[in-house]
């Protein structure tokens, strides 16, 4: 805050100032450069506190020693930390640990591999069974379809036979006259009567 000044204002002030002191002046503060000095501070000259040389020497020595010791301690602790870190990262123990871990890892990976193999075997068996099941089903479906086909063929044959049988009774051009004669000779009565109880009476009067 206070700065050493030189120049014309210095001479006047120096007369009043103590001999060994250094002149100081305020540099920054609340007021700007255009503000006048306060009335109570017009002739004021600020001086730093006086220094006893003997005391200064003694203090300097003691402080120097103290700071040296403190710095040494700090550096020592820092070095201890660094050494610990180094030991952990790249020490003999660390190598052992790394090797141990790698071995354990290998063991666990082998275990995992065995498990996978076991699952693989189970899966192969299961897939095989599923395939067989699918084959069997397909086979059954094919059989069924063939059976159905055969049944249809049989039905058709039966119908053909029936038709052949019926064909004997068909009316052809040769039979025509004969059949007409027969029909006229044997009149057939299709009428029937039924009462409320459901009794069917086929014998009725032919007209």
């Amino acid at each position: 805050m206070f700065q050493v000044i030189g120049g014309r204002s210095v001479q006047a002030a120096r007369v009043l100032a103590p001999r060994s002191a250094v002149l100081v002046e305020a540099v920054r503060g609340r007021k700007s450069r255009t503000d006048p000095v306060a009335k109570s501070k017009v002739g004021r000259i600020k001086m730093p506190p006086p220094v006893d040389p003997v005391e200064m020497v003694v203090l300097k020595e003691r402080y120097g020693e103290y700071q040296m010791i403190m710095r040494a301690l700090r550096l020592e602790f820092k070095e201890e930390m660094l050494r610990k870190r180094y030991e952990e990262d790249t020490g003999s123990l660390a190598e052992e640990r790394a090797r141990q871990e790698a071995q354990e890892h290998r063991v666990l990976m082998d275990l995992n591999h065995l498990e996978n193999q076991r699952m693989l075997k189970l899966r192969i068996v299961r897939v095989q069974m599923e395939k067989e099941e699918a084959d069997r089903k397909k086979f059954k479906v094919i059989l069924q379809r063939e059976q159905e086909q055969q049944e249809i063929v049989k039905e058709k044959e039966k119908e053909i036979l029936k038709l052949q049988e019926d064909a004997k009774n068909f009316i052809t051009l040769e039979n025509l006259d004969q059949r007409i004669e027969e029909a006229l000779d044997n009149p057939k009565n299709y009428n029937f009567a039924i009462d409320k109880q459901g009794k069917v009476v086929k014998q009725t009067m032919l007209q």
Partner: protein, 172 residues
């Protein structure tokens, strides 16, 4: 609406902290391939549904990816630091079984976890006073039952240094 989703317990802190799979430092990526339908993927689906939030909570720096309906059989794949890939087949397995197996092959063991917890506790000694970042308290005035901070409440006259010096000077 307090609850979201089918099993909102999966979102509670208590549930997440109960997860016991902490991966080794080498595991970087975890991939789960499973199917959305089918009896064989049931275990994998349950694993993803129940155990994955716990795993991700405990291993926040491991990338976990899910692939659905890409392969006929479900599996887990772990990608380690040195490029090694670990395949775990989970077809037809129970989710509990899967998580036990994963913990066995790639998780930190109980003793390692405990050692780590111990080391962490040792680093942060609650008896230390210092910046908030490293210690619990900064000054003894923060502790209950101790003299309150003279910055907020004035000390009784008898405890102040100037009074004491005055008394000492008066006595002499």
């Amino acid at each position: 609406m307090p609850m979201k989703g089918r099993f909102p317990i999966r979102r509670t802190l208590e549930y997440l902290q109960k997860g016991d799979i902490v991966f080794k430092n080498r595991v970087k990526i975890m991939t789960v391939n499973y199917n959305t339908h089918g009896e064989l993927s049931e275990g994998a689906r349950k694993f993803v549904f129940f155990n994955l939030p716990q795993i991700q909570y405990k291993n926040q720096w491991v990338q976990v990816m899910m692939f659905k309906n890409m392969t006929p059989s479900p599996f887990l794949k772990f990608y380690l630091d040195d490029g090694e890939q670990v395949l775990v087949d989970v077809e037809g397995r129970d989710h509990k079984h899967i998580s036990d197996h994963v913990r066995k092959i790639l998780g930190k063991t109980e003793e390692v976890l405990q050692a780590e917890a111990q080391a962490k506790m040792q680093e942060s000694n609650p008896a230390n006073f210092g910046p908030r970042k490293y210690c619990l308290r900064e000054c003894i005035c923060e502790v209950d039952g101790q003299v309150p901070c003279p910055g907020t409440t004035a000390l009784p006259k008898e405890m102040t240094g100037k009074y004491r010096t005055k008394m000492a000077a008066a006595q002499e």
